[in-house]
Symmetry: C2
Subunit: 142 residues, 2 copies
DNA sequence: CTCGTCATGTTATAATGTTACGGACGTTAC
DNA sequence: GTAACGTCCGTAACATTATAACATGACGAG
């Protein structure tokens, strides 16, 4: 396996995300890893870029935040090659607006819908599906 | 029809978005409406909040930008009521990473997938589907 | 009228993200 | 060895996006 080419900063970021129970913004990550000698936003962003290109973390668009991938079976190769035909793998997310918890899910139909919607001549690179609402626990509280 | 309760700023913002061919950030909108006496970011954000709660504009999460809804048949009632059971209407988007053009689409299957993924106890409020890639024109150029 | 309140406007600032630059370090070629 | 190059790492400055805090003005209720 060629994966563990993670550098120091990448490990710190991934570790911070792994310990968290909800998505962290780049600055959340920075705060948590500051004690671990991570000092500037740019280091976090660089690490996140690498990690997400490998599918080890995912960006939650609507929150400007990141989660560690909960199903890392597909980790390994790098997706940065822009010339590829196939889209980057990305699960869907179910996100509670109240507590911020996130659950990943997979559904093959999504890619089909996306390709169909995009049309023949559009080269799909990434499909983002995010579902927002209130989880059972937060609904109970409210 | 009770819709046209748009105030001055909301009209300005909507008009700016309507003239644009691609998503505009809040500050893009501000620039374009500055000549029309729109002065501060917060005015734009307030207008956008109202407009998007009515479905007249949509936020493209991954771009931090906004588009006027291209299918305004569903405009009218306000979605801000948090207690509602049904999810806010939001189309899917196909977005070219190169030229920034955006096309809306509808697919009923998306809502089903979302509900299914969210599960019984999760109250879905919003489903966001965004498809990124390269449009035909930009692929030709590259 | 005077108060409360809600919409709006103004200013400042927070939060987030990117670019530019330089230094440390290892590798390769000569 | 050492010069030339590349990669990683870090700092600082900057650019962009979003919100806070407070002031003003319109308007109805009492």
């Amino acid at each position: 396996m060629k994966s563990p080419e993670l550098n120091k900063n990448e490990k710190k970021v991934l570790s911070a995300l792994g310990r968290a129970v909800k998505p962290l913004s780049a600055y959340d990550i920075l705060d948590r890893a500051r004690s671990d000698a991570l000092k500037a936003p740019v280091q976090v962003y660089r690490a996140l870029e690498k990690l997400s290109s490998r599918g080890l973390v995912h960006r939650i668009e609507a929150l400007n935040a990141f989660v560690a991938c909960s199903d890392c079976s597909h980790a390994g190769h790098d997706h940065r090659d822009q010339s590829h035909v196939h889209a980057e793998h990305r699960p869907g997310f179910v996100i509670c607006r109240d507590c911020g918890s996130v659950r990943e899910f997979e559904d093959e139909r999504v890619a089909d819908i996306a390709r169909e919607a995009a049309g023949e001549d559009f080269a799909v690179a990434l499909v983002s599906l995010e579902v927002y609402g209130l989880c059972a626990a937060c609904r109970a509280n409210a």
